[in-house]
Amino acid sequence: MATATSFPELPLFDLRLEPQDLDAVAETLRSGWLTLGPRTAAFEEAFAEQLGARHAIALSSCTAALHLGYLAAGVGPGDEVIVPAFTFAATAAAVLYCGATPVFAEISSREVPSIDPQDVERLITSRTKAVCAVHYAGYAAPVDQLKVLCDSHDIALIEDVAHAPSATLKGRKLGTWGQSGAFSFFSNKVLSVGEGGLLCTDDDDVAAFVRSRRSHAMTSGTWDRHSGRTDTYDVVALGFNYRLDEPRAALLLSRLARLEREIARRRELTIRYRELLSSVEGIIVPFSGDDIAGSSCYVIPIMLERDGTQGEVSAELRERGIQTSIFYPAIHRFSAYRERFPTLSLPVTELAARTELTLPFYPHMTHEDQDRVVTALHEVVRP
């Protein structure tokens, strides 16, 4: 039986790097050039090409990408940004960084836990500056509908693509539907590096803005000065240090080459998981089999039909050596957000948050381990 602090036999995620990844980092470290330089540029170019976006700007995190994405859309004090509450807090926190107000929209259902375009439409006011669509678990939010809606109201669509690198909707890569797309390379992500993020955009002005603000709005970088291109610099705005560094860029570049293969493996395992899970009574498996081909298959979320059992099911799985997580507690129910939005009610989101469990999943997961998780679910979920 697991004790209070022990490592799970079947962890939520398990990252494995290949020898060539380590070689790429070692080579970078030995070069002695660690800040934004040729490797970051090479990674940005490769990522943009794979995505089919005009620009890709590497950043320190997805939170940073969302912050700069909102700022580039002109979000500032007094503005509103419509976001889902069934997402990680960064989606909303980055709105607050800009001095603006997040306005929380419902998700469609527990079966389709993506932002509901009809609710978004109801929430648009004269102060709405942008809408952020989160591609939850790697599955496309309805950005096709949201794009039409945003265009007709002349507001920016920002995509939170933290879960969904290389995922698609109608054959078009996620992140390329909106004005910009914010990606995460956090350690448990599909393309992970430790801490890291990226913003993609087809808009030259947005790209120039983000490149400037990621490094204190300085008109030249250390690499430019090292390579003799320029001697000094001006500071033209309030910027940040949202830079990625070269060792992480090298690791990303190395791993990017395997991304499609790893996602293909994730899809196979997801299809198998879904088949097995279909026999478990008392759970909802969000999305449908048809969605898998376009998904990056980041995680395996399930929803417990019986409200109020999330804690005990999670604890009983834990006793069987199986780690689960909640993707996600509703943002507006956290203390910091209750203070700001004390009366907000989002019943569908709240039910999803109260009943969701995310199961162990990683590309090298064995069939035996999948079977073990599902067997345990049969034992502990009460229909």
Binding site: T5, S6, V25, A64, V236, S314, T324, Y337
Partner: protein
């Protein structure tokens, strides 16, 4: 990689450092975990603070130091005008206004406590003391001033890890309520991008820890180890986390930091021996300050901006990379922040100085090359 005969600085990563990073990558655990904890312990031991909290950059360290210090909208924070721009950006991130103050002189180009005193208003909440280029600012005088006025003192140690205060062994970053450090790639202790907040105050340390990771009440590592998967978010935090590979690199390198600073100091002494007494060139700070400095950069002073620019152009022609720091109020973004009467010492410091190549691995030959080029220009 560069065409420079002598580059401004050089980062040398040892095989031991490389192995430490590779071991971490091979472990598969890349977000804040045991290596971050160990690096923080080593940092607090080295700096001499009760707590050290790693963050994503020196800028993030200053930002969280400002938040932890309770600085907010409507407040003023006094910042020297001769510094890197992050020192003034940090108060702005929290809605406060940076009030630029002067430095003592080009020969002692750190924040001037007398000028700080003149700029204190009822709205002043804090002073950010920058230990520029590795030389300790007069934080003892500033501490007394801040205490007398009920102000917080934040030390910007981005360029000065390991520097010591006058009359003892105490290191910078331990006099203010909070000290902000940088591990950016050119720094004495570098990991690529990274930073750290040092403090003796447990409540401030906890606040910085909370805010660096979205004010989540438990971390991914905690949950991996079996803590309850349920967490709360108690404030509006950020993602200012350092990751494990960078912590591993920092931990490997910190053991050599003191030797590396000694090597920088030896180079500075060699420079000063070669360059002192030259007509048309002045060397900031005295021998005592040199002994205590951790030597991020080696600035020399020319007669005026025009001479300095010609000097830099000549050195560039000789294959020697140099740099200089503009004063904040000469940037487009801060032009409007110039107080009446200007900031003459900060401006003169910026316009007259030129930072010569300096690294922990610089050879005597390289010092000779630079010294000869300097002498050649002046004769």
């Amino acid at each position: 990689m560069s065409e420079w005969r002598v580059a401004l600085t050089d980062v040398t990563v040892s095989e031991e450092d490389v192995q430490a990073v590779l071991e971490c990558l091979a472990s598969g655990w890349l977000t804040m975990g045991p290596r971050t904890v160990a690096f923080e312990q080593a940092l607090s031991d080295y700096v001499g603070s009760a707590h050290a909290v790693t963050v994503s950059s020196g800028t993030a360290a200053l930002h969280l130091a400002c938040l932890a210090a309770g600085i907010g909208p409507g407040d003023e924070v006094i910042v020297p005008a001769f510094t890197f721009v992050a020192s003034a950006a940090a108060p702005r991130y929290v809605g406060a206004e940076p009030v630029l103050c002067d430095v003592r002189s080009p020969l002692d180009f750190n924040i001037d406590p007398d000028d700080v005193a003149r700029r204190i208003t009822p709205r002043t909440k804090a002073v950010i003391a920058v230990h520029f280029c590795g030389y300790a600012a007069d934080v003892h005088a500033l501490r007394a001033l801040c205490d007398a006025h009920g102000l917080q003192l934040i030390e910007d140690c981005a360029q000065a890890i390991g520097a010591r205060l006058p009359g003892g062994e105490q290191r910078v970053g331990t006099v203010g309520e909070l000290g902000a450090f940088s591990f950016f790639s050119k720094k004495q202790l570098c990991v690529g991008e990274g930073g750290m907040v040092a403090t003796d105050d447990e409540a401030l340390a906890m606040r910085v820890r909370l805010l660096r990771s979205h004010a989540l009440t438990s971390s991914t590592w905690d949950r991996h180890r079996g803590h309850d998967p349920v967490y709360d978010i108690t404030d509006i935090g950020f993602n200012f986390r350092l990751d494990e590979p960078r912590a591993a690199l920092g931990l490997s390198r910190i053991g050599r930091l003191e030797d590396s600073i000694d090597a920088r100091r030896a180079t500075v002494r060699a420079y000063r021996e070669r360059l002192s007494g030259l007509s048309g060139l002045e060397l900031p700070f005295d021998d005592d300050a040199v002994e205590r400095s951790s030597h991020f950069a080696f600035p020399v002073l020319l007669a005026d901006r025009e001479t300095r620019d010609r000097f830099r152009a000549q050195l560039k022609d000789d294959g020697i990379q140099t740099t200089w720091y503009p004063a904040l109020h000469s940037f487009t973004e801060y032009r409007g922040s110039t107080p009446s009467g200007g900031l003459p010492q900060a401006l003169a410091s910026a316009e007259r100085h030129c930072a010569l190549p300096l690294s922990s691995t610089m050879s005597e030959d390289e010092v000779d090359i630079v010294a000869e080029a300097v002498t050649g220009f002046l004769s």
